[in-house]
């Protein structure tokens, strides 16, 4: 366990040094991210705007929906900063056959590949999420309770674990279908569906996005926690669900790793 933390520290240090070299990236991420945030929020202004006759998302007011978008932008920053960069690099390793060098190292391969690269400036997204949260709570006219914030943070951690497990499953697929190097973009675009409250998903979508790809758990539940209307059962169920997801992902990873044949080129 201590060695794992040591390793994490070393890997993080490498990423920090890289990030410090490209300081301008922080400003670029901040500015470009602002445009993306506007693009994410704009449809809601239209949907809830006074000029259109739309009633809004069923069961969700403007302020409440903004909280969901805030959770979405937060998790997107986590994906772009901590999950996707490593994903892209391990997919590259598998395709080129250079995963050998990782496997030879005297440490758990999963830990090594998943901490390989962090893009720290993507944390700029948290600033944008903060703006959206502020807008949302101003619209609602009251702040969140302490318990609500604690629950929401816990759920965002659960969401990160879920996203990481999904990521590990995608990497495992790459051992079987090597040529697919754009899987990471598929991953992010599926996550795009998480930006609206769960009530927009109906029928089969509802089931898929709750149990198969648990997008509902990732953004709607934290928003409900912030609003103080999250049932305890949902909280417990999502923690248990995430734990099961993680165990499954780990076993699939170990199974797929055996398929790795190294022949690159």
């Amino acid at each position: 366990m201590r060695r794992a933390f040591e390793l994490l520290k070393v890997q993080l240090k490498a990423s920090v040094m890289l990030a410090v070299q490209y300081r301008l990236d922080f400003v670029l991420d901040l500015v470009i991210g602002l445009f993306w945030t506007i693009a994410a929020v704009l449809p809601l202004f239209v949907v809830y705007g006074g000029s259109s006759s739309a009633q809004g998302v069923p069961g969700w007011t403007f302020g409440e929906t903004l909280l969901v978008v805030g959770c979405f932008i937060t998790l997107q920053a986590v994906i772009d900063g901590a999950i996707s960069p490593s994903l892209s690099s391990v997919l590259d390793h598998v395709r080129k056959g250079t995963l050998d060098f990782v496997l030879l190292k005297p440490h758990d391969a999963q830990l090594l590949v998943s901490t390989a690269r962090f893009q720290l400036w993507r944390a700029a997204g948290l600033v944008h999420a903060g703006i959206v949260f502020t807008l949302g709570f101003r619209e609602l006219g009251h702040g969140p309770s302490v318990l609500g914030v604690a629950e929401a943070l816990l759920l965002l951690l659960v969401a990160t674990a879920l996203l990481y497990s999904l990521w590990l499953l995608i990497v495992s697929v790459s051992f079987y279908a090597v040529k697919v190097d754009n899987l990471s973009s598929l991953f992010t675009s599926i996550f795009d569906a998480a930006r609206w409250p769960a009530s927009v998903f109906r029928g089969a979508f509802r089931i898929v996005f709750t149990f198969v790809i648990p997008l509902v758990v990732m953004t709607t539940l934290p928003a409900e926690a912030l609003l103080g209307r999250l049932p305890w059962t949902s909280l417990v169920a999502s923690i248990v669900g995430a734990a099961v997801f993680a165990v499954v992902a780990r076993s699939v990873w170990l199974l797929s790793l055996r398929r790795y044949t190294s022949a690159g080129g």
């Binding site: 670029l28 009633q55 069923p58 973009s185 569906a193 609206w196 979508f205």
Partner: protein, 267 residues
């Protein structure tokens, strides 16, 4: 000389598209945004139809046909030369292209166009579903359907030329792909990709009419869904042609300037 090479280049490009078909299917599948927006809008329109700024009423079916058309058009007008040029400039492999007796831009364009048949094939199920279930929500004017292929080609040209411009910036800028990112953010807002332009307040719609994004997506989509009067459509096609020529001149300028700076470093 170079024109004679085009059929061969198209054939090579098609073979490439066929070889990387799984990758292409994944790209098509990752265009989830129109479907995500469709979920949002239909959940709203199911409660009560939404009134557009121009007085049209949007039911759930209208939204479904609109966003399925968006999905189809988006597939057909996709261009990715900016990434290719960026990669080749950084790796220095552009040198090989410059040695050939053929303008690299033409080579990029043909390899891009060669993907069209297969991309069309992948979107065909969506098109069939659309015609089978929402025929009423599509345009009944045959002239619109005659005009459609031209607007789609025009839209692709704008996309491709912007890609070349941004790609040419990589001769001078380290992170020209960030410029592409910015283009996409504006595209999402002003092209009708997220919100049909019908819902924009008049002043914002006027701005959108002056920006290029409307001609990359909304124009063909609105032709398909019968949202445009034919005269209006012709006027917009005129603007599209103007954008294509303007961007063509800009791309040519940036490219020739950029290539002079190219030193084939890297490796």
């Amino acid at each position: 000389m170079s024109l004679r090479a085009i059929p061969t280049l198209l054939k090579v490009g098609f073979a490439e598209a066929a070889a990387y078909r799984t990758e292409m299917v994944v790209w098509v599948l990752s265009t989830t945004m129109p479907l995500v927006m469709m979920l949002l809008w239909t959940s709203i329109a199911d409660v009560a139809p939404v009134q557009g700024q121009l007085g049209a009423s949007w039911s759930s079916a209208t939204f479904i046909s609109y966003f399925l058309c968006v999905f189809i058009v988006r597939q057909l007008v996709a261009a990715w030369a900016a990434w290719e040029i960026n990669f080749e400039v950084r790796q220095g492999t552009l040198a090989l292209r410059l040695l050939r007796p053929l303008n690299p831009i033409i080579a990029f364009a043909t390899s891009n166009l060669a993907y069209l048949p297969l991309r069309g094939l992948v979107t065909l199920p969506v098109a069939i579903f659309l015609v089978a279930t929402h025929r009423d929500a599509l345009s009944h004017d045959w002239r619109a359907w005659v005009l459609l292929p031209f607007t789609i080609f025009g839209a692709w040209l704008i996309n491709f030329l912007v890609n070349v411009c941004v790609g040419a910036l990589s001769f001078t800028l380290d992170s020209s792909l960030r410029v592409m990112d910015l283009w996409f953010a504006f595209f999402f807002v002003f092209s009708g990709y997220l919100v049909p332009l019908d819902f924009f307040p008049p002043w914002l719609r006027d701005i959108a009419a002056w920006l290029p994004f409307r001609y990359v997506l909304a124009l063909p989509v609105e032709l398909m869904t019968g949202r445009l009067a034919f005269d209006e459509a012709l006027r917009l096609v005129g603007a599209q042609v103007a954008y294509v020529s303007g961007l063509g001149a800009l791309a040519a300028l940036l490219w020739t300037r950029g290539v002079q700076r190219f030193q084939a470093f890297g490796g």
